[in-house]
C-alpha cells in the first residue's frame, strides 16, 4: 500500500524546497558574501517585519480577504509617533502605545469598510491605502518652507529596539513570538477555526452560528496591531521616519503568504507557511542586492515570482482535486464490492 502524504504537508515541503533552492542559487552566484552568518541574521532581520505583519495578513487572506493598505498604515503609525516625539514630553512607552492604538483604529476602519459596509476587500483597502498615505502627509512635519522633512526618532530607549542579542535581532525575537502566538490562535482557538470557516464558505459559516462580519473585522484589527508593531521596529531601526515610509510594502506580506501556501480563495494556509514565504522574500531581496541588482530589478522579479507561484498553486490544486476525486471514486467502488 502506498503511503499518502497530507496535501498541506506536501505544500509545506514545496515552499521549503523553493526557499532552499533560492538559497542554493544565491549561494552559488554570490559565494561567501551571501552565505555568511552575518548575512543570514540580516536576512532574518528583514524577514521579521514582513512576517509580523504577515500574521495579520494571513488571517485576513484565510477569510478570503486581502489588505492592500499595510504600507500606508505603517507610515501613518510612524508619523503619529514622530509627532508625539517632536511636540510632546510624553514618555517613550506611551508614544509606542499611542502608535499601536493608531494601528488598531486604522485596522478597525478597514474592518468596518469591508465587513459592515460590504465594500469588496481590495477596493476598500485600496481606498484606505490612499487615505492613510494622505493622512500621513497631512500630519508630516514640515520645515519653514513647507518642505516635508525626514523626522528623527533618536531617543536611545527607543532605538535599542533596533538592536540585537548576538546575531539575533530583537525584531526577530518579536517575530518568533508573533508567529508562535499567531499559529496557536489559528489552530487551537475557536476564533482560528472561525477564520477558516468564514474563508471556506461565508453562507455556511453564518448558518453555523458564526458572526461573520465580526470575525472579519477582528482579522483586520489584528492586521492593524501587527502593522503598528512592525512600524515600531522599522522606525527604531531607521531611527527616523518619512512620509514615504513603507510605500510598496503591502506587496511583501501578501507575496509571503501566497508563497507559503495561503490560498487567496480563502479557507486554507497557516502562519508557518507565511514565515517561510517571508524568509523567501527577504532572501530574494538580499540576494539580488548582493548581485548588485537595484530596486528596479526587485520590482520586476517580485512581481513575476508572485504571479508564477499563484499560477503554480492553481495548477497544483487542480491536480490534487483530480487525484482526490479519483481516490473518492476508488473508495466508493471498494465499498460497493
Amino acid at each position: 500500500m502506498k503511503r499518502h502524504i497530507k496535501q498541506s504537508t506536501m505544500r509545506r515541503l514545496i515552499s521549503l524546497a523553493m526557499l532552499l533552492a533560492l538559497i542554493a542559487l544565491f549561494g552559488v552566484l554570490g559565494g561567501m558574501s551571501f552565505l555568511s552568518t552575518g548575512n543570514f541574521s540580516e536576512i532574518f532581520r528583514n524577514a521579521s517585519v514582513v512576517a509580523i505583519v504577515g500574521v495579520g495578513v494571513t488571517y485576513v487572506i484565510i477569510t478570503s480577504g486581502i489588505d492592500l493598505s499595510t504600507g500606508s498604515m505603517m507610515a501613518l503609525v510612524a508619523m503619529t509617533m514622530a509627532n508625539i516625539y517632536a511636540y510632546t514630553l510624553l514618555p517613550i512607552w506611551s508614544m509606542i502605545l499611542i502608535g499601536i492604538a493608531v494601528g488598531l483604529v486604522a485596522g478597525l476602519v478597514n474592518g468596518i469598510i469591508v465587513a459592515k459596509l460590504n465594500v469588496p476587500e481590495f477596493i476598500g483597502t485600496l481606498a484606505t491605502l490612499g487615505i492613510f498615505r494622505a493622512l500621513t502627509y497631512l500630519i508630516a512635519i514640515t520645515d519653514a518652507n513647507g518642505v516635508i522633512q525626514s523626522q528623527p526618532l533618536t531617543v536611545p530607549e527607543y532605538t535599542v529596539l533596533g538592536g540585537s542579542i548576538g546575531a539575533v535581532f530583537y525584531v526577530t525575537v518579536a517575530m518568533a513570538i508573533f508567529v508562535i502566538a499567531g499559529e496557536v490562535v489559528l489552530k487551537y482557538t475557536r476564533f482560528g477555526t472561525n477564520l477558516y470557516a468564514v474563508g471556506a464558505n461565508k453562507k455556511s459559516a453564518t448558518l453555523s452560528g458564526i458572526d461573520v462580519p465580526r470575525t472579519r473585522m477582528i482579522a483586520y484589527v489584528i492586521v492593524g496591531f501587527c502593522v503598528a508593531v512592525g512600524s515600531v521596529f522599522t522606525t527604531a531601526r531607521l531611527q527616523s521616519t518619512t512620509a514615504l515610509l513603507g510605500s510598496g510594502f503591502e506587496f511583501n506580506p501578501i507575496a509571503a503568504a501566497v508563497i507559503g501556501g495561503v490560498s487567496l480563495a480563502g479557507g486554507s494556509g497557516d502562519i508557518i507557511g507565511t514565515l517561510i514565504g517571508s524568509v523567501f522574500m527577504a532572501t530574494l531581496e538580499n540576494g539580488l542586492l548582493k548581485l548588485h541588482m537595484n530596486t528596479a530589478f526587485q520590482y520586476i522579479i517580485k512581481g513575476i515570482v508572485i504571479v508564477a507561484v499563484v499560477i503554480f498553486d492553481s495548477l497544483y490544486r487542480k491536480r490534487m482535486d483530480r487525484i482526490a476525486k479519483e481516490h473518492g471514486a476508488q473508495a466508493e467502488e471498494g465499498v460497493g464490492a
Binding site: 459596509l117 460590504n118 481606498a127 484606505t128 490612499g130
Partner: protein
C-alpha cells in the same frame, strides 16, 4: 402623487451643485469657456483610460496595472523618439510600439486571469510592480524629455476650435466604447459575463475570450493615456501615470459603475470623469496640496461602493420577500 426617482436625479443634481459651488467660490474665472476646457483637459487622460477599463469593470474584473502601464507606454514612445533623433517617423513608430506594449500587456493579464482562474486584482497588482521596475530599468531613473518634434508635442496641446486635442481623443474613444458596449453582441456579452459568468458560459458566450479582449482594451487605452500624458508634459519617467488606477476607479464608481460587474455605462463614466475634474478643480481652488488627493478619492470610492453594495443587498432582500410572498400566496390558495 408622482414620486421623484432620486436615483436618476442624483447625477444632474450633484453636477449642477458642484458647478454652483465652484462658481460661487471663484465667480470671475470659473464660468468661462476657457476654464471649462481646462477642467476637461486636465481629466482627459483619466477619461481615455476609464473608457477602456470600464470593459474590465463590467466583466466583473479589475485592472490595477493601468497606472504604471501608462508610464511604461509613455517611456516607450519617449525613448524611441529620443533614440531615433526626434523625427516624425520616430513619433509614429514610437506610438505604434507603445500601443503594442499596452495591448500585449493587457492580453497577458487576460490570459493569466482566465487560463489559471487567478483573482484579477492579484495579477494586475503584481503586474503594476513589474511595469514600474521595467520603466525604471529602461530610463535608468532619469527623466527622458521629448520637446521635439512638433508632431509629438501637439498631441497634448494642439487646439481645435478652442479645445485641446486630448478632449477630442477622449470623446472619440468614449464613442467607440459606447458603441461597442451598447450596440454590439460583444457588448451585450460583457454585461452578461459580469452579471453571471457561469450562466453566460452555458448560454454560449465565449467568456474567456471576451474577458481577454476586455483586458486588451484596458491595456490599449492605458497606453493611449500614457502617450497623451507624455506629450502633455513633454517628458517620460518611471513615475509617469502612477496613481492613475485609483483616479480611474474613482471616476468609474462616481459614474455608477458597479465593481461587482455587470452594471455601468460609458456616459456614466464620462459624467464621473467630469465630476473628478470639478473635484480636482475645487481642491486646487481651496489650495489643498496634491498629496491629499488620495484622501478625497478614497472617501469617494468607499461611499460610492458602499452605497452600491447596499442597493445590491436591498434588491436581493426585496426579491426574497417577493418570492416568499408568492409561495405563501400559492400555499394559502
Amino acid at each position: 402623487m408622482k414620486k421623484i426617482d432620486w436615483e436618476k436625479m442624483s447625477k444632474p443634481i450633484i453636477l449642477v451643485g458642484a458647478i454652483i459651488i465652484l462658481s460661487v467660490l471663484r465667480p470671475q474665472s470659473f464660468l468661462t469657456a476657457n476654464n471649462f476646457a481646462n477642467v476637461l483637459w486636465s481629466v482627459s487622460v483619466i477619461g481615455i483610460m476609464t473608457c477602456g477599463t470600464v470593459f474590465v469593470f463590467l466583466a466583473g474584473g479589475i485592472d490595477l496595472s493601468i497606472g504604471t502601464l501608462a508610464g511604461l507606454s509613455a517611456i516607450t514612445v519617449v525613448e524611441i523618439i529620443d533614440k531615433m533623433g526626434a523625427t516624425n517617423a520616430s513619433v509614429i513608430i514610437g506610438i505604434i510600439a507603445a500601443l503594442c506594449v499596452g495591448a500585449f500587456a493587457g492580453m497577458v493579464h487576460g490570459l493569466i486571469i482566465t487560463r489559471f482562474n487567478i483573482p484579477a486584482f492579484l495579477v494586475t497588482f503584481a503586474a503594476q510592480s513589474v511595469y514600474l521596475g521595467l520603466s525604471m530599468v529602461i530610463t535608468n531613473n532619469r527623466i527622458v524629455s521629448a520637446r521635439e518634434p512638433a508632431l509629438f508635442t501637439s498631441i497634448g496641446s494642439m487646439k481645435i476650435l478652442g479645445f485641446p486635442l486630448p478632449i477630442y481623443l477622449m470623446i472619440i474613444i468614449a464613442l467607440i466604447s459606447w458603441f461597442s458596449l451598447s450596440r454590439t453582441t460583444f457588448g451585450r456579452d460583457i454585461y452578461a459575463v459580469g452579471g453571471n459568468p457561469e450562466a453566460s458560459e452555458i448560454s454560449g458566450v465565449h467568456v474567456s475570450k471576451d474577458i481577454v479582449l476586455c483586458y486588451v482594451f484596458s491595456g490599449l487605452t492605458a497606453a493611449i493615456g500614457g502617450i497623451v500624458l507624455a506629450s502633455m508634459t513633454q517628458q517620460g519617467m518611471a513615475s509617469t501615470g502612477s496613481g492613475y488606477e485609483t483616479q480611474v476607479i474613482t471616476a468609474a464608481v462616481i459614474g455608477g459603475v458597479s465593481l461587482l460587474g455587470g452594471v455601468g455605462t460609458v456616459p456614466g463614466c464620462i459624467y464621473g470623469v467630469v465630476i473628478m475634474g470639478l473635484i480636482n478643480n475645487g481642491l486646487n481652488l481651496m489650495s489643498v496640496p496634491s498629496t491629499q488627493s488620495g484622501l478625497v478619492q478614497g472617501v469617494v470610492i468607499i461611499i460610492a461602493v458602499a452605497f452600491d453594495a447596499l442597493q445590491h443587498q436591498d434588491q436581493s432582500r426585496k426579491k426574497v420577500k417577493r418570492i416568499s410572498e408568492q409561495i405563501k400566496g400559492t400555499a394559502s390558495s
